[in-house]
Symmetry: C2
Subunit: 137 residues, 2 copies
Amino acid sequence: MNIGDVARLSGLPAKTIRYYEEIGLVSPMRSTNGYRTFRESDLHKLTFLSRARSLGFTIDDCRALLELYVNTSRASADVKKIASEHLVRIDAKIEELIAMKKTLSHLVHECAGDNRPDCPILDDLAAPSKPAVPASR
Amino acid sequence: MNIGDVARLSGLPAKTIRYYEEIGLVSPMRSTNGYRTFRESDLHKLTFLSRARSLGFTIDDCRALLELYVNTSRASADVKKIASEHLVRIDAKIEELIAMKKTLSHLVHECAGDNRPDCPILDDLAAPSKPAVPASR
DNA sequence: ATAAGGGTTCCACCAACTGGAAGGTCAACC
DNA sequence: GGTTGACCTTCCAGTTGGTGGAACCCTTAT
């Protein structure tokens, strides 16, 4: 299979697949004309990566997950650990966004949105010492 | 005021403030020794930026908001538009994360997390054609 | 004199791609 | 056999919003 075929089948752009090769996530063969040649196993890996990335796993996570995926003597605890930690990050991000949303939707609601200059949104942004998210990192 | 002072007062790292100068968001003066000298108005801008960034506005949004902020003949509608569009982006992001969370927490729950290799998480990642978020962009 | 604690510039790096230029290859059609 | 068009290749640059570090200057106190 050429790169276009696995791109279609995995749902990843060809550019991304080349990038994944560059960073060592897949290692397709090369045919005599220089084209990449993908095996079934490469396609499986790419599909795996596509799905893992769409679940928000970082490339580093994907690398670790891929290793566990191909290693049939893995412990499911290792997989679960990576996924659980990712879940914690997702939760934190959701909370952060919800806090932003809350503040912002309040402000948007308050703003007349006409051609006068008075604007509660700008007033709030200009008001000092009010972190949107109550301080973490 | 030197950069350290406005850094403390605005809550932004000095590095970030230098970066904001580089991209033209603030334009402090320079004293004879080459140090940046910040006026009150610069501090106000930096505080504004700090808060706007913490609400998730992009730098481009911040640039536009800052212009409206200093322009006293603005129309609040212009501000509201930027904020509303940002709110839409936040909502979309929240939805995306919640979809991920849903899938992932389900999988984590299913996984035994012991030293055996069987793992529903890997099984799912390997299963083809299941976008985590039902397809948009 | 020197040490601490500011400040300065510049260059490189992070994630995870994406866009585009310049060019090679292949299969089909006339 | 020539040409078109769809593939493929590499390489370089840009994206977003900074961050880290090196090498060096300035000021003040001891």
